[in-house]
């Protein structure tokens, strides 16, 4: 599907992440695992808004990438994978993103959301046939 990205990584990315912002957030948190961030600091680092960072962080908390997100006060966001399996998967994602950034971004935006469309498209013999 995408050359150079292992299929387990691709599956993990497509099921867990839905934006480039999330990948970039993962990169920042992963690079300095013992550092805690505020949403404002992360927003400045990534060129985003605190509100958007908070939304992404909540998603990360649900996945177990960071500690549960309090949502009130001044939260301290730090890289804290809940299981070793998750940590390994995330590490693979980070490596893949470093090596094949464009392919990883393409993966996220090519994600089909519609099983029916996928079913129908499966019968297209050539990938570039017009719809």
């Amino acid at each position: 599907m995408n050359p150079g990205i292992p299929s387990e990584v691709a599956t993990f990315v497509q099921t867990s992440f839905s934006s480039v912002e999330e990948l970039e957030l993962l990169m920042v948190l992963h690079a300095r695992p013992d550092q805690g961030w505020t949403p404002e600091a992360l927003a400045k680092e990534l060129g985003s808004t605190p509100g958007s960072i908070i939304r992404r962080a909540s998603g990360f908390a649900a996945l177990g990438i960071i500690a549960p997100f309090p949502g009130v006060g001044s939260p301290n966001i730090a890289y804290a994978p809940a299981t070793t399996a998750l940590a390994e998967a995330l590490h693979a994602v980070v490596l893949a993103y470093r090596q094949r950034r464009i392919a990883m971004i393409t993966l996220i935006y090519e994600k089909p959301h519609d099983p029916l469309r996928s079913f129908s498209d499966a019968f297209r013999l050539r990938k570039d046939e017009p719809r």
């Binding site: 599907m1 959301h113 519609d114 099983p115 029916l116 079913f119 498209d121 499966a122 019968f123």
Partner: protein, 87 residues
């Protein structure tokens, strides 16, 4: 003679559908395609057993095996349609 052609056509078409759906599943990871692919593979097999039952070994009655295969195929398809046809 007609019987040969019908069974053959059905088996070939089912196999083609299964292959196309499996390829689509590998590309999109949509589970519906996986379940459907298995259904069509099962139907191809059912038609194959039908062919054997009617033409290759006319003395035997493989009805129960055919039925079990067909039922299994249809159940597998229904799992996909009911469970995986929307996000």
């Amino acid at each position: 003679m007609m019987a040969y052609l019908v069974y053959l056509l059905c088996a070939v078409t089912s196999t083609a559908c299964a292959a196309l759906l499996w390829r689509g599943y590998r590309r999109t990871r949509a589970a519906l395609l996986m379940w459907s692919a298995w259904c069509f593979a099962g139907l191809a097999l059912t038609n194959g057993v039908l062919f054997i039952d009617m033409i290759v070994l006319p003395g035997t009655d493989l009805r129960l095996i055919r039925d079990a295969l067909a039922l299994g195929s249809v159940l597998v398809l229904l799992v996909g349609l009911i469970w995986r046809s929307h996000d």
